[in-house]
Symmetry: D3
Subunit: 237 residues, 6 copies
């Protein structure tokens, strides 16, 4: 029995609350159970220097965690003077994932920055961030379309993410913190609405995993992402 009494292939309760920040062009409070992430998409009429004059835009992401999102208080990164390796890894992942479904040429010479700030953490903050970021990005692009800055929303597909793990030899979908800390293997999958893979990050925390175990996690991830994409569709409908 999982600590949350879920079936092995069952997601936590997932919700999206759109438009939660009055200043942002797009925003979303995404919840995967007790993991809550506030996502804000900001449109800026500027580009990183290396991209100027090429006729296309850019989407990037930043990730942060409030100090008391966690069980124990986490020191602010500004106190150490630099982001941790974990933060950099996650924000690069979110950015790459979003760019996989945006048509940057049709965005024009602009940058959208997607800020994912974890208000409360209970495992899966990066997968919740990516899944909610798609909503905030979509709403930012809608905002631009409503102002005739772009003729159509330049999104090629949905993007959503979920984690899977092996615990006591059993593959499980969407680990919470209690499971995450005892998993032998932890895999994050970022996939499109049409079933393509954008990112796979699998790590054997304790014991190496087998090909069969990996295939079982892939199957769970497909199921989870299908559910998340359905929820995204309902949210922006």
């Amino acid at each position: 029995m999982r600590p949350s009494r879920r079936a092995t292939d069952e997601m936590r309760a997932v919700s999206f609350e759109r438009g939660v920040l009055r200043h942002a062009e797009g925003s979303c409070l995404v919840k995967f159970g007790e993991t809550h992430v506030l996502v804000a998409a900001t449109l800026e009429e500027r580009l990183p220097p290396w991209l100027k004059g090429q006729g296309r835009g850019w989407v990037t992401a930043e990730y942060g965690m409030l100090p008391r999102a966690t069980h124990e208080r986490t020191r602010r990164e500004v106190t150490a003077g630099k982001p941790t390796g974990r933060t950099m890894e996650i924000q690069r992942l979110i950015g790459r994932s979003l760019r996989a479904v945006v048509d940057l040429e049709r965005l024009g010479e602009r940058q959208i920055t997607v800020d994912c700030d974890v208000i409360q953490a209970d495992g899966g903050t990066r997968t919740a961030s990516i899944t909610g970021a798609w909503i905030a990005l979509h709403d930012c692009l809608s905002w631009m379309k409503a102002r005739s800055m772009i003729p159509a929303i330049p999104l090629r597909d949905h993007i959503a993410a979920v984690s899977c793990g092996i615990i006591d030899g059993e593959p499980r979908l969407d680990l919470d913190y209690a499971e995450d800390s005892e998993a032998e293997t932890d895999c994050n999958f970022v996939m499109t609405g049409t079933g393509g893979f954008v990112e796979i990050q699998g790590t054997a925390e304790k014991t190496p995993f087998t090909g069969a175990e990996f295939d079982a996690m892939v199957a769970l991830a497909r199921k989870g992402v299908d559910k998340l994409v359905d929820l995204q569709k309902m949210a922006v409908a």
Copy 2:
């Protein structure tokens, strides 16, 4: 007429939502109109090195702002590698204000860190932070009392804060962002529930202010703080 159609001595709608973070010993989402601050109080069984072995505790505060709390996106402080002068000024102010009403001897050799993170900014983030921090601190101390860590809540008084300003020669209470940016003078008052002053910070942004103008702002501040303290009392009742 003020942009918000309030009377010159009228506060914005103020609310406190307690217990919003499941991991924190005390927490509060405080709203002064469209200014929203998430406050978390964390109890730690450790002390800054210079305070060890003196038989008393410590209360400190940190302040942050999510990048898209503001009209334009603000760069994360970790990107610059250090907090801005404004951030340091504000978090020192919050810490001093709280310590003015806590009996540190009765707290014991422990530290409470109060994190104030601005989710949305519309002027007065430091006054909202202080006012909400009192609630989170109170609830953290209640949590300790419930666990028999302390025999009673070691708070000597309420603490609350409000800003006043002079606009077109007119003293006004609780400025929002639109007023703050055009005020000739901006004063922040931190006061106790029994009417004592803990901090006064007055700045002539454009024209020096007179003694009479200052006295008018003091009177407005008294009125605002009385209201805030009443609301705090209702919130923790």
Copy 3:
């Protein structure tokens, strides 16, 4: 009896030595008793990026303290890699105070940077800095006028600063270090030569202060600033 045997409304011996640095456009060694601050005003034909092309200039300040200005040696800020919160607070205060009396339009598109470096500290370094900075700024502007860079000195008024405190319930003017460290309340007042307030910073270090106590400090501050402005007038006559 005060440790320095002064009356409660008596300033320390104050002196200004002008032109102490051969390279600076304006400079002043200001002494408030044993507090000695070296002030240098530098004219530069450049502006911060956000101010360019607006037809007006800028005055800014930086503050530092030599490591052995203090009783115990203080670590250099460069060793920590960043200024302390206290330093940032003080240099922002000095800059705002000076700008309150400079006509930035008449200064033209130039920047004056006022460096205040504490050679020896005995309380009141920020008030001595502001008071001496007015002299160095004045002399920098005279230097410009002598070279026909400006037709007249664009200063609207004098600016001077003094601290007051409550010790054993007694309001006192111009605290030295011995008093500062035992004061219940510490207030800094920055005022113009014509009696306007530019900055008020009052802090209850131990016990909240009353309205009556605050009024008594205001009265002492007025007396101190009047004296300081008289001394400034003699110095530049």
Copy 4:
């Protein structure tokens, strides 16, 4: 035809030169074609603070690149004051990979730091680093065994890594720089000598990849890792 004229399932020439650094307890110059990495394993009788007193050791890794390892000169990380996100990602990956096959209890309360410094880069620096790091780690553990610090070499298995990619729809093994920069998908596999997965990192650089494409890369990776493990065995025989 691949730029290097290799078959799609063909590794570059791989070599290990052991004992290249006279001071290090274990060292190895590993070459994957024109990618050259110098690996040094250092034994230290100390532990990170969070691991002390638990009766087990630690293996960690650091990664660097000489400025002119690359086509264009790369700025030294010390100049920016902090490692890039890429560097942190890679060194965390190397450390996790090595720890997957070390019995930390049998290592005792000691730390081995494995430094991987890229002398020349032509794609696959992280996979060459991991594969060579196993050799340096092995030799460091032999050095300890020879001095009776440990009764046996506490390695449970080999560890090796290889990249695969999809280029023009074709899965290929062990990409060099020319291929890496035009690949649609880039996957890194870290596997044990007995065929277990330790890390999978797959990224769709341009187009999402399918399950079938991923399976083809897994098959190539198995083949590459088998070859690398054979070469490791010969090297330490």
Copy 5:
């Protein structure tokens, strides 16, 4: 003719003002013409970690320059977040020079930090710093002897420093800024009172120098240091 109308073997006017800082155990304002350096020696009952428990003390130095010591204002090092290479070079040189004449065993397990802060710069700030530092160090050690912390002053010799240069093929003693910036060669000599060399730093700024030129500079330096040591003797007599 030299810009200062001095003879080629003539020092600038040199003076030492002792005891200028009330808090420091030893202090000295040293002037080499228009180069003015404030030196403070601080006694601390602590040691760097690597020196603890060895029965001997340590002397170290730090060097700084006020922003407007120079013709053009120099940015504060704290703004860049780290000392420049030049600063580190100079403070290491001062520390080594002083340690060459201190008997660290007889100092006991204590550290003396000598801060050299340039108030005004006109060439030769490092040589003035070393020469003045000997005075401040001497006075700090006298202060300790007066308090019976040490039975005698543990100084084995005087230490003084001077620069020489080649300008238009002519060797000259004690360059000021105007000469320093046009010198072909610039050499700094640190010597003891009995004629031993402690440091020689010679740099060909434009043309390599010959052995004969170097010998001529050595002869000038001997003459200059003899003069400086005589002045030190008079100062502490």
Copy 6:
């Protein structure tokens, strides 16, 4: 007898391996006995901002040390966030030394950066770096000449460097690590092929040195540099 059984005026075995890095315009692996430095010269069509538009180029150097080049592992400088004073001193020395023999006007408005990375350290890393840097710089300039970017190699002379020391009162040439750590005096000499001095850095580590000792070191250095220049000539012939 020296630890290496060399005569007092005998250099270690010196070798230059050219062209060791495929991407660099010039490169050299220089060995002074067990001290091995990898030098890479990079040509860039850009200049530091302060040099633009003056019709001449620039040569600069950077210096690094791999963590396990040394007996004990040395922490990476990026971990501390800034280069040590020693590193900055050395890289400034290498840059100045090279510029002394390059005709910067004839180089044109380009920059050559010479990276010296110590692979293995056994004393004399700075002298080996300078001596090998001349080779890498020469080869970079040849590369430019071969591409008709410059009509001739703009080098006025050779440059080479060697250390000398006094051990037990005996002057010795080219100290290795064992000698360096027990030397009373340590001098580095940078000289041209025609016998001019470019840099002299002499330090009394323990006892001040005499003029006669210094002269003996100069004579040894001349002998060593003559040998190094002969080897450079053979290497590039």
